[in-house]
């Protein structure tokens, strides 16, 4: 396995709540009242303007300005993919799914890059992050470069337990500590879990 793994905290219950709205967007017809509420909520989020230099916020504004129109008439497939991805980021991920490739560990993210070659040799790590298969894939976004996979809560607990001995190892400590913090955060509430994606 090459590349990097980005791990973040996701509100999976929130995702299930907005999933019908995401399906409606994907149908590219006229939006119903529930989907409109979801879009308005995203518009009010401070994270909305940060996505692709405000392009996401611009698309939300265009849709909400023309609720009488079918999306397929004035948007492109790329626009719709961007709206779906943006909604998941803004409404379901902590801190609007913000992360950095410069800092491997942040308040709501961990990027495993150089340390991945060490983690990958741990059986429990491979079981949790690589052997979940397609059934752990988040239903949306299903297009574009990013595909998220979510951990079951027992996997998050498994992760927390596996990380404990690594916290003493200087080479892995920053990422292990960051992951342990994210796992503890995910386990602190029933609606939370961890999502991961490959960054190429």
């Amino acid at each position: 396995m090459s590349g990097e793994i980005l791990i973040q905290v996701i509100d999976i219950v929130r995702f299930q709540t907005i999933r019908p709205a995401l399906s409606e967007l994907e149908a590219v017809r006229m939006l119903g009242s529930e989907a409109r509420i979801v879009l308005r909520e995203a518009t009010a989020s401070p994270f909305a303007r940060g996505i692709r230099y405000g392009h996401f916020a611009g698309l939300l504004s265009r849709i909400l300005s023309h609720l009488e129109l079918e999306l397929r008439v004035f948007l492109t497939s790329r626009d719709v993919d961007e709206v779906i991805h943006g909604l998941v980021r803004v409404l379901c991920f902590e801190n609007g799914a913000k992360f950095s490739l410069v800092e491997a560990v942040g308040p709501n993210w961990v990027v495993l890059e150089s340390s991945l070659s060490t983690f990958i040799h741990l059986n429990w790590f491979r079981q949790i992050f690589l052997e979940g298969g397609s059934e752990s894939a988040l239903a949306y976004p299903q297009h574009g470069e990013v595909r998220y996979y979510v951990l079951r809560r027992e996997d998050v607990a498994h992760l927390a337990a596996g990380l404990r001995p690594l916290l003493e190892e200087p080479a892995l400590a920053p990422e292990a500590e960051g992951l342990a913090r994210l796992a503890a955060r995910a386990l602190s509430a029933e609606n939370l879990t961890l999502a991961h994606t490959c960054l190429l």
Binding site: V28, R62, S65, H66, E68, L69, E70, R72, V73, F74, L75, T76, S77, R78, D81, H143, G144
Partner: protein, 143 residues
């Protein structure tokens, strides 16, 4: 009651559009995307007619796939389909002049390939059209 001929055609067109979208977004199956989108377009054209607004979506998918090919011929074909799409949007977006202006800009972009214009005269026409529109800062708009 069994589905009517039109219902079957609608199902087929919608399925082709979904498959085209998947193929285009995948990035490695653009030729499949072109084939599927063009089949969806032909299906809708046959059962909904030449001027139906539902033709816009398969056209958009088709254009998207052609744009990702990054060839001059594909870009020209995308612009040609973009003209067809704009003609349909002029009717569908008659009540939404701001969106129609967006569509005109999209067509101008379709005529751009590798920092050059595929048809400078046509792009000028579109630019003049935009300048005339009151909603895009043209002479009809009060400053």
């Amino acid at each position: 009651m069994p589905p009517s001929v039109d219902e079957k055609a609608e199902e087929r067109a919608a399925r082709l559009e979904r498959q085209a979208w998947d193929a285009i977004a995948d990035g490695f199956r653009l030729e499949d995307g072109i084939r599927l989108a063009s089949e969806a377009f032909a299906t809708r054209q046959a059962f909904q007619g030449e001027g139906h607004r539902d033709l816009i979506w398969p056209l958009s998918l088709w254009i998207e796939a052609l744009r990702w090919m990054h060839h001059a011929d594909s870009a020209m074909e995308a612009a040609r389909l973009g003209e067809r799409r704009l003609a349909l949007r002029r009717v569908a977006l008659a009540g939404a002049p701001d969106e129609l202006a967006c569509s005109v800009r999209e067509l101008m972009e379709l005529y751009t390939f590798e920092n050059g214009s595929l048809d400078p005269r046509r792009v000028d026409e579109l630019r003049r059209e935009l300048a005339r529109r009151p909603d895009t800062g043209g002479p009809g708009q009060e400053v």
